[in-house]
């Protein structure tokens, strides 16, 4: 059976109290940490989706975002590397379009259907910026989702139908070189844009397939703001209980990740036989009708667990510094040379995949990998072992108040379960949380980032405990 094999989501730990943007605003928006971007969040969602499942049969990877760190250079290549996927896969970015996630979903589904790929992993993430205090800044949030498509007996949901419209409209856009999203007048973008286009596609699909709103357990509708979301549900004839909670209060509209995150939320609650309507939006619309199979069950850490695990900040300056909106003091900033790109290339198994070496003679694990064993001194007799998805425990730590940069680095020597030790930073933690013996997991993050994006795995306190 063709369909969704697994799914995952990621919501960053950090939430900005909306009242910090402007007094009187309600709720929170999820914000990427200072060392996160769309690539790192996509990796986090994909790890939630894949967990311990085998990755050998993944033949394709899509990464959908409007906020790739690169205007030229594929981001999916980094995501694939961090996820420890095979080299001989088709990896692709879906860029610039807000519904890149669902466009890629359609392609992924077709690839599996055509038999050109066994399994295809779809990831989507966004960190979109609105100008300070704009309505877009208020309504948007950061997050990521991942969905694995395949053809197997145990798919948890199938795609019954799909329908797409391509629509030319300047309603939401960002020109090359611009930082902030531009939005045209509210009523125009709602009436000529979202409500009109989504309304048209959904009703055509329903007519074509002889479906009615009552046939659906859930409608996943991805509106740019709460007002639009209320209008579309009513316009399409869904009852309030049928409409998937839009997460505006807790997370915000997460761009490319948004339709997939809401789909993940719907799947988490779905029962066998439930039909789910999914409609994205952006330069048109993709509508899907999915049906949960008898294999549906809660998988992954769960979107809700990520939503519940949070740290709320009300410091707007901190948020704007993280996003580079508020500049840092250049006089004493962290000036560093450009890293050697040749060295980065040679060391990517160490940095991006976080492999250690495991000695075949004495079993000692070393990170970074060593050709001559640090314990028994045997040369070139080792296996590369992936440490990124292991847990560890802080052996010692310090808080480097003198280092400078966006956030005060917490530096650790972390012992890894099953052997090995990593000299690494602790992220998603405040200094008072650090301690000897603290259990940690690893999280793919940006390292030093002022010249070119550099990535590394950092330790973080175990985010969600089963």
């Amino acid at each position: 059976m063709l369909g969704i094999v697994s799914y995952g989501a990621y919501v960053p730990l950090w939430r900005l109290q909306r009242s910090a943007i402007s007094p009187g605003l309600r709720g929170e928006k999820a914000i990427a940490g200072f060392d996160e971007d769309s690539i790192t969040m996509a990796v986090a969602a994909a790890l939630d989706c894949l967990q311990t499942s085998e990755r050998e049969s993944i033949d394709g990877l899509f990464f959908a975002t409007t906020t790739s760190p690169y205007s030229e250079k594929q981001a999916a290549a980094t995501v694939a590397n961090a996820l420890d996927l095979r080299r001989d896969i088709l990896a692709a970015d879906a860029l610039a379009c807000l519904r890149g996630g669902t466009i890629a979903m359609r392609i992924a589904f077709d690839m599996v259907k055509a038999g050109s790929a066994q399994r295809v992993l779809l990831t989507a993430a966004d960190v979109r910026l609105g100008a300070p205090e704009s309505s877009f800044e208020r309504d948007s949030g950061d997050g990521a989702a991942a969905v694995l498509f395949g053809d197997s007996a145990d798919v948890i949901a199938t795609i019954l139908h799909h329908y797409s419209i391509s629509n030319e409209l300047m309603d939401v856009w960002r020109l090359a070189g611009e930082t902030f999203i531009n939005i045209e007048e509210d009523r125009f973008i709602e009436e000529e844009g979202y409500l009109k286009v989504v309304g048209e596609a959904v009703s055509r699909l329903m007519t074509q397939q002889n479906l009615a709103p009552k046939d659906f357990a859930k409608a996943v509708l991805c509106a740019p703001n709460p007002r639009c979301h209320r209008s579309i549900g009513a316009k399409l004839g869904f009852e309030p209980h049928q409409i998937q909670k839009p997460l505006f209060e807790e997370v915000g509209n997460t761009g490319n990740a948004y339709p997939l995150m809401l789909l993940v939320a719907a799947l988490e609650e779905a029962k066998p036989g439930d039909k789910i309507l999914l409609a994205s939006y952006g330069d048109g619309v993709d509508v899907f009708v999915l049906e949960a199979t008898e294999h549906i069950q809660s998988r992954g850490l769960g979107l809700q667990a990520y939503i519940n695990s949070k740290r709320v900040i009300d410091d707007y300056r901190r948020y704007t510094k993280w996003r580079g909106i508020l500049p840092l003091d250049k006089g004493r900033s962290v000036l560093m040379p450009k890293p050697s790109l040749k060295e980065m290339m040679r060391r990517q198994d160490e940095t991006i995949r976080m492999y250690g070496s495991k000695c075949r003679v004495c079993g000692a694990v070393a990170y970074p990998p060593q050709r001559v064993c640090a314990k028994c001194h045997t040369k070139d007799q080792f296996d590369m072992v992936r440490l990124a998805e292991k847990r560890g425990e802080i052996y010692s730590y310090t808080v480097d108040y003198a280092a400078g940069g966006l956030e005060i680095p917490i530096v650790t020597m972390t012992n890894i379960e099953d052997g090995g030790r990593a000299f690494c930073l602790l992220t998603d933690a405040s200094p008072d949380e650090a301690g000897i013996g603290l259990p940690v997991e690893f999280s793919f993050r940006r390292s030093y980032q002022d010249i070119i994006p550099e990535y590394i795995w950092k330790a973080r306190p175990i985010r969600i405990r089963e």
Partner: protein, 393 residues
Amino acid sequence: MESIKDKVAIIGMGCTKFGELWDKSEDDLLIEAAYEAYEDAGVEPKDIQAAWLGNARTAMRGAALAIPLKLEYIPITRVENQCCSGTDAFRNACYAVAAGVYDIVLVAGFEKLKDAGPERLRARYLYPDLFPQVPIGLPAQEFALKATRYFHDYGLSYEDGKRMLSRISVKNHHNGTMSPKAHFRREITIEQAMNAPMIAYPLGLLDACGVSDGAAIAILTRSDLAKSFRDDYVLVKGLGICSGAKQAQLRDDEDLIHFEENVRAAKIAYHEAEISDPLKEIDLAELHDCFTITEAITYEDLGFCPRGKAREYVEGGVFDLDGDLAANPDGGLKCFGHPLGASGVRMIYEIYKQMQYKAGPRQRKNPSLGLTHNLGGTTGAYTVSVAVFGQRD
């Protein structure tokens, strides 16, 4: 293997004032130290047959010494070995002298750290092998990791551990007030040290040494020739140096409460100098107090006190200027700052002056053996030098 003991003599030394020497160039520092050393040794520049230059960051070649001093057409070797650069240059010079290849050689240690700015101390510059796990890190974090673990393993509360470290800082600052060439020359209190702004938890500003500029120069000869220059020459008794292979980072069974490199380098130096009870036999030691925790752990590694007893010994005054073994009688890195390549030779300068009873108000009574110690690098991959010096027979 033969020992270096009593084969090489120091016959002259010079040392600049250390500090933020904005108005002095690299050349100024080398000239100042060299001409003090020439005068002290009673030699002319033309008498120098070979030279070694210990420098970690700022001078990239032997010519950096030839140009200002106009040492024309003699072999000059630049030695880089992190914080041991000065001492390692000295060690290499000793071997050439002991081999009988040269009669009179010059060793310079210097660094103009303040011209480069603090960015040069970040991990990516200092330890490219650590890139990119902690790229913006400063050296304090490495030693703070040891302090956190030292407190934990010996059951010291933050206050107890911090008090021990502060006591070391207070001692060094006190000694520094008597050193005219030191960068910082003022007394501090335990309370000031304990409450100083945090640099890298649990190390505060007054646990850290300064960053400064400086140069020191020694003139060496074979010990059988030394008498023709002066009566109070100082003999090299032992030279130990070793490098770690990053074990404490690569092996999860390594502790962080000792520096194995310290233990090994001291073993070599003590063997050469025939020292069996370091606390009893050594009168004064210039230790690498880049951070107070380094000095504390070094007491234990060098056999000055039993494991875990640094606090007891420190608080008992064992390492005070009038204690059993004066540690950092001139104020150490704490007061001189740490121009990387200069520090090792500057330490030897203090031992040399003490042996000659020329240390002024900080003079120890009847010093017979003095030791210098440097440690530089990153966890598990430090380079450590231990050198022992003594009076002429």
